[in-house]
């Protein structure tokens, strides 16, 4: 959905450029590269120049998007992201595809388990992680038009199920988004793992609880007011995220809960702070980190 939306936006916005690092230009990215050959640059297996060029292009009026596998957008060229994009505060979007453990058979070199924490630690950086195709489209359109500075957008891979069509409000940068609203329990997450959040919501509902489900798609700046309201309005809050336990949404929600002296029950589930040597489906990898319906249900007292 990112590529389709980007191609579409590229037709009316001549400043949009894609700078990719040897990522197979599947689907609509191919269309973009064929329609706008000058605005599509492949730096090859050279991620530092991918980021460096984006900086120079942005300094001269273009609006480049760096695009490759999440770990290679951020970790490999980290200092270039920090100095060239964040220090200069340039409107460049870094699109990290396959965030978390999406590339479930490729091993830890291809996992971005700590990307949200790393990106969030950088001054000027905004961090977003849409959860489904429609939210990805909305987030991409926001990135296309924004002038505030660098953005790290974490994506999964193609084919995520719809989660947001019933949402009560459209995507708004910097605001949490209720995908459904209930009274008792609130499940907060971001990215494709919200599919598991929705399954968990159904499980709570089967136990007679009224459940809210929130896409916290903007991790930085986090919607502190929105999180505060959610903590105050529910008796139980559950955070799930496909990210390291350090420096992510769970840690931030707990911090807010302490600051406001929240009285709800609060549980946070994340990837483990460990490289794991498992392979299989994305679901298998999440389960190996304890992020599966059965494990969560057991820990939340929702057995059977």
């Amino acid at each position: 959905m990112f590529a389709e939306t980007f191609y579409e936006a590229g037709q009316t916005n001549p400043r949009l450029c894609a700078v990719v690092a040897d990522i197979s230009p599947a689907g609509a990215m191919t269309k973009f590269s064929q329609a706008f050959p000058e605005r599509f640059i492949n730096t090859g297996v050279a991620e530092q120049i991918m980021i460096g060029m984006c900086a120079g292009m942005a300094l001269r009026g273009l609006r480049p998007f760096a695009y490759t596998i999440a770990t290679f957008t951020l970790f490999r060229p980290f200092e270039f992201v920090r100095d060239d994009l964040c220090y200069h505060n340039l409107p460049v979007t870094i699109v990290g595809i396959g965030g978390g453990v999406t590339y479930s058979t490729l091993g830890s070199t291809h996992h971005a388990q700590e990307d949200i924490a790393v990106a969030s630690a950088l001054p000027n950086m905004a961090v977003i992680a849409p959860c489904d195709p429609a939210e990805t489209r909305a987030a991409t359109l926001w990135c296309v038009d924004q002038e505030r500075g660098p953005v790290y957008m974490r994506l999964g891979k193609a084919g995520e199920p719809d989660l947001t069509s019933q949402a009560e409000a459209p995507f708004e940068f910097g605001k949490i988004r209720y995908l459904q609203r209930g009274r008792d329990v609130c499940i907060i997450g971001y990215g494709p793992i919200l599919k598991l959040g929705k399954e968990l919501a159904a499980k709570f509902e089967a136990h007679g609880r009224s459940v809210s489900l929130i896409s916290a798609h903007t991790l930085k700046p986090l919607d502190v007011d929105g999180i505060t309201e959610a903590l105050n309005a529910h008796r139980q809050v559950v955070v799930i995220e496909e990210m390291s336990p350090h420096g992510g949404l769970g840690a931030q929600v707990k911090q807010i809960a302490w600051d406001i002296r929240a009285s709800c029950r609060l549980d946070a589930f994340s990837l483990r702070d460990a490289f794991i040597h498992n392979y299989g489906s994305h679901k298998d990898l999440l389960a190996a980190h304890g992020l599966d319906l059965e494990t969560l249900s057991a820990q939340l007292g929702l057995a059977a």
Binding site: I41, G56, L59, P64, D84
Partner: protein
């Protein structure tokens, strides 16, 4: 796009005597600033001074009649620690003020020991080596595809030729046929721990490596303004150009030349006086 050359746009040749005189004044001014702070980069600024001077005064095109000048071409000092050379020249042009330089590295000022984007004249923040070439490759490409006739000048240190990112950029700039990208290497043969040619003896000479990456390149004495000017203006069209400028670190003050300590040190009052006494015009 038309890769217009400075040669076509700059019919007036370089006045080498004027360049020598300017650089003498700039060295004096840098020494003067050195008396206000304890640590700065005099020697790295002295080695690239003639190259930076030629770029600003004789190669970069300016909007006629603007004062202080508005430069149409761009300049980035990738070896950010050499930025005193840029500061004194921009002061001379009136882009930076005398007060700016007088407050160098102090809480009252806005100039630090590395260039900070946003300060007048600073087109990129550098300081960490190996970044300038990538940023300038992006700038040059952006100018090219937006059909603007703008040249991008970047000054590099020989130390940062050890950064892989510099070579990633050079690979890319050649592929993209960036005839508007002009790199000038301050080959003073020094880095933090000593001579670059001792750190990486098999790496030299540089010129053939650069040419092997598809760049047009030439080597000159980096303190010879006329040679720098002529080499840049004789470059080929349609390819990025790389000038290897052989220089002496600390050039102009005998006790600073090729002495690693002067990478950071500020001269004492006596040393300052001695430096002023022996400074003279330099042509090579």
């Amino acid at each position: 796009m038309s890769q217009a050359h400075s040669r076509a746009i700059k019919p007036v040749g370089l006045d080498a005597a004027a360049a020598r005189q300017r650089c003498l004044g700039y060295r004096r001014r840098i020494l003067e600033i050195s008396q206000q702070v304890t640590a700065l980069h005099i020697a790295p600024a002295f080695s690239c001074l003639e190259m930076v001077d030629v770029v600003y005064h004789d190669l970069m095109r300016r909007d006629a009649g603007s004062s202080p000048p508005v430069f149409l071409d761009s300049f980035v000092i990738s070896k950010g620690h050499g930025c005193l050379s840029q500061y004194v020249i921009l002061e001379d042009f009136g882009v930076l003020t005398r007060a700016d330089l007088d407050c160098y590295c102090t809480p009252a000022g806005r100039l630090g020991a590395h260039p900070d984007y946003g300060v007048p004249g600073m087109e990129a923040s550098t300081g960490s080596l190996g970044h300038g070439m990538g940023i300038c490759t992006g700038m040059a490409y952006a100018e090219k595809i937006q059909r603007r006739d703008r040249n991008i000048y970047v000054v590099l240190s020989d130390g940062e030729m050890q950064e892989g990112s510099t070579w990633e950029s050079m690979m890319m700039a050649a592929n993209l046929g960036l005839g508007n990208l002009i790199a000038l290497l301050d080959l003073n043969d020094f880095q933090g721990m000593g001579r670059t040619s001792v750190t990486h003896p098999k790496f030299y000479p540089i010129l053939d490596k650069v040419q092997a990456f598809g760049w047009d390149a030439a080597e000159v004495n980096g303190h010879d303004a006329a040679a720098i000017y002529d080499a840049v203006n004789s470059r080929q069209a349609g390819r990025p150009f790389f000038l290897v400028g052989r220089t002496v670190k600390g050039r102009g003050v005998s006790y600073m030349e090729n002495a690693p300590i002067w990478h950071y040190r500020s001269p004492s009052r006596e040393e300052y006086q001695q430096a002023l006494d022996e400074l003279k015009e330099i042509s090579s």
